[in-house]
């Protein structure tokens, strides 16, 4: 059985001596049954605090936490039936794997036979065999991660909370495990909130992403929407990479507006959600992969290659358009695409459709 999670005006203030620090600032969120939502943001944005308040490890300063409509703000941690996966797994170092996984069952008074059966089942489900008698320190990081998942799944929790569960694994295993976690979550249909600071992880695993900054929600959207139509400059800059320019609105047309930038006027599509005024400053956001390089002849926007870094699948260029002003451009690696050297003059081409306009 899977249940929805609602946060109403959730806030948390921490006191350090005389200083008060607002870690979470009036957050509202509704996570549908069976949905996987990630909380994404830089460190200190309050994402873990939100998760810990849902679990009951922290008490909200204000606001309420509801599970399936029931207010659990005042409920003790051990009565909430919430599965929590910790960043460091928090396996009990003094118990073997069987005892670790069976812990929650034992607390619930499940009989020994039943425990044996359920533990074997769940270990099989997470892909672990014959580890019952080993101790956590005898397992690899990936195996410990699976035990942590098994320990949570075996108690059949109402919702699943995961706090950066993959951050202690190496890059390859991380990608593998996030697919596994997503698969298990879908199979069990369990509602899940997943905290991460890794945007790729968030984009690849989530139904919806909540971007947080300084305790506040910046945007809630599907991964695609978030990347294609960021609501704020913070989101644009935090998700993927972005070139951000300041320009001035010159004139409006039907679906386009003229923006004055670097001494040129460019026609750019309108922001669907926000109408700008004439003469207003706007931020233009261009993803590096939307910038194409070519010979300088005939280009409006020209620059000089300041540096280039080859990262395997693409070449990352930094182009100086005028002193102190850089544009980043990613060119996919292909034999058809010319490679420029440092110091080369290049022309830049940007499809106006790929330019997003945001309030400054």
């Amino acid at each position: 059985m899977s249940l929805s999670i609602s946060l109403h005006n959730l806030s948390k203030i921490f006191h350090r001596g005389k200083e008060a620090f607002k870690a979470v600032d009036n957050v509202n969120l509704h996570v549908k049954s069976g949905e996987l939502v990630t909380l994404l943001g830089p460190s200190g944005c309050g994402k873990t605090t939100i998760l810990r308040m849902i679990a009951g490890f922290e008490r909200p300063t204000e606001g309420r936490v509801l599970i399936d409509g029931e207010d659990i703000t005042e409920m003790a941690v051990n009565k909430r039936k919430i599965g929590f996966v910790f960043q460091n797994y928090a396996l009990f170092p003094h118990m073997n794997i069987f005892d670790n996984v069976a812990y929650g069952l034992k607390i619930r008074g499940v009989s020994q036979e039943e425990r044996k059966k359920l533990v074997a089942q769940v270990l099989h489900m997470v892909g672990l065999e014959e580890v019952e008698n080993r101790f956590p320190n005898q397992l690899s990081g990936g195996e410990q991660q699976r035990v942590a998942l098994a320990r949570v799944f075996v108690t059949n929790p109402n919702v699943l909370l995961m706090d950066e569960p993959l951050s202690n694994l190496d890059a390859k295993l991380r990608i593998y495990m996030r697919a596994e976690i997503r698969q298990l979550q879908k199979k069990l249909g369990i509602t899940c909130i997943y905290v991460t600071h890794d945007q790729k992880e968030a984009l690849s695993i989530a139904d919806r992403i909540v971007v947080l900054n300084k305790g506040k929600v910046e945007q809630v959207a599907t991964p695609f929407e978030l990347y294609a139509n960021p609501a704020t400059l913070f989101v644009a800059d935090f998700i993927g990479q972005a070139n951000i320019f300041k320009g001035q609105v010159k004139a409006f047309r039907d679906k386009e507006m003229d923006v004055f930038i670097y001494g040129h006027v460019m026609a750019i599509r309108n922001n669907e959600k926000k109408r700008f005024k004439e003469g207003e400053e706007v931020a233009l956001v261009v993803r590096p992969e939307s910038v194409r390089l070519g010979p300088p002849e005939g280009s409006i926007l020209k620059g000089r290659v300041l540096s280039r870094v080859f990262v395997g699948d693409k070449m990352e260029y930094a182009i100086e358009i005028e002193p102190g002003n850089l544009i980043h451009a990613f060119e996919p690696y292909s034999r058809d695409i010319p490679i420029f050297s440092e110091g080369d003059s290049v022309g830049l081409r940007i499809n106006p459709l790929d330019v997003m306009t945001l309030p400054v």
Binding site: V77, F86, F92, H94, Y103, G104, N137
Partner: protein, 557 residues
Amino acid sequence: MRSFDKSTRLDPALVPLWVGLWGFLGLFVLYPLVRLIYIVFTTDGGASLINLIKVLTSWYNRKAFFNSLALAAAVATTGTFIGFLFAFAVTRIPLPRPVKWFLGAVVVLPFVSPPFTSSIALTMVLGPNGLLLKLLHAPDFNIYGFWGTWIAETLTYFPVAFLTLTAVLKAIDPNLEDAAMSMGNTPWGTFRTVTLPLSIPGLANAFLLLFGSSLADFATPLVMADHTFPVLTTQAYLQITGMYDIQGGATISFILLVPALLVYLLQHYWVEQRSYITITGKAGAPSVVKGGGFFAETLMLIIISAITLFIIFLYSIIFLGSLMKVWGVDNSFTLENYVYVFTVGWKAVKDTVLIAVISTFIGSAIGVTTGYLINRKDLPWRKTLEFTSLLNYVLPGTVIGIAYAVAFNSGPIVLTGTMSIIVALCVSRYDATGIRATIASLQQIDPSIEEASLSLGASRFTTFFRVTLPLIMPAVITGMRYLFVVSMTAVSATIFLVSVRWSLLTIRILECITELLFAQAAAFSVVLVLIVFIAIGAIAVLFHIIYPNYYRQLRRP
């Protein structure tokens, strides 16, 4: 005080523990001290400074005050120096493993011995009829007074400096020394410019610890310092037992309290905050540690060997002395002294062990509870709780002993002459190590491990017994061991509380010394050390039976 919003309110499950603990501390820490201060500052029921003036105007008391400080400074200096030599040898000079182990073992001896041990041995060697004096044909030499007390206390307390400084030297990243060497510095230069400056906070800490220990020491000056060299602790005792002047004794002990508290505050709030050593997670790989150069190393090893041999010599003397008829007079072999211990002294043996066992169990339970509560962030008055729970440990035993005698001899709670008063004193005074070890151990445990248990449905109570307690077990064991050892060897405070009904081994040893029965005193000491060793072994075995694979499980791969 800051107000508690609902997000930081105390877990209701902890309230009864918190209240109970404060009840205990109120009764056995705060109440005696209040009673002590009360009788110091009143005469005939009215507030006055007459007691204080009376004590301070006596030249003999003033002399005792300055003697105490001078002795403490001398002991702290020599003890820190010797402790540093030993610590440096163990951590920086590439000695064979068995030699390091042996040095560590010798240094531990004074910890598990009754406080008179080095005094008895020194007296047997350098006192009247002393062994060395006879060999050196210097019969008129007088060990009693400043010199004897100084030597005996240095031998007793330098291990404290050794342990502190070993930890400090171990925590210095060897890469720092390697860096200095790679930039062309000599081993001695590296020692002078890197190792020594980095150890300075540790040295200051050790110095203050030893200063405090010497200031509070009662047993050694009682035996070694004669009337020409009075110190405050013995003066307070003699005032009470010799002159039946409890008010005067209490006042002298109050004067002792002032420098003792100052030293503690200095050590705790100044030196400890100033340590350069911070655990940063990734220290450099342990390189082949370098000493201070060939000449310095050789000199160090000579001094260390001499001191080690001297300690071994003194302890052999105790053992041999316990097997002789009359030390220095009739050196024939006998087991009479041990017969004496197990007949005449049997009651003391039995009482001491019983009191130590009860204190160990009650004390470790209270110690773990206290440490657990202090470590909880949501608890009001945590700092006050920590300070109060360590107060009896920090203050000199003489002060606590007199405060107990004053507090529980009259008034609403009379406990004089009972076993409970001795147990209460041992528990409230010696659970400190357990508290500190528990706090340190809990700080090592990631809170998420407890949170995992809670989120899996276990109550706070279950979580404590299933998860927390097993993980901090080594700290509990450390606390138990300390409690047992010091409950067996305590004297400075308990001497004011013993009665006909409850006698203690240390007190019997003291009686033997005052009656010049050194052979019997030595036999008592040997028996006491043996009991302590057996108990430490038993605790270790018990631990291994309960947790057979404890360290294997927790070791990081």
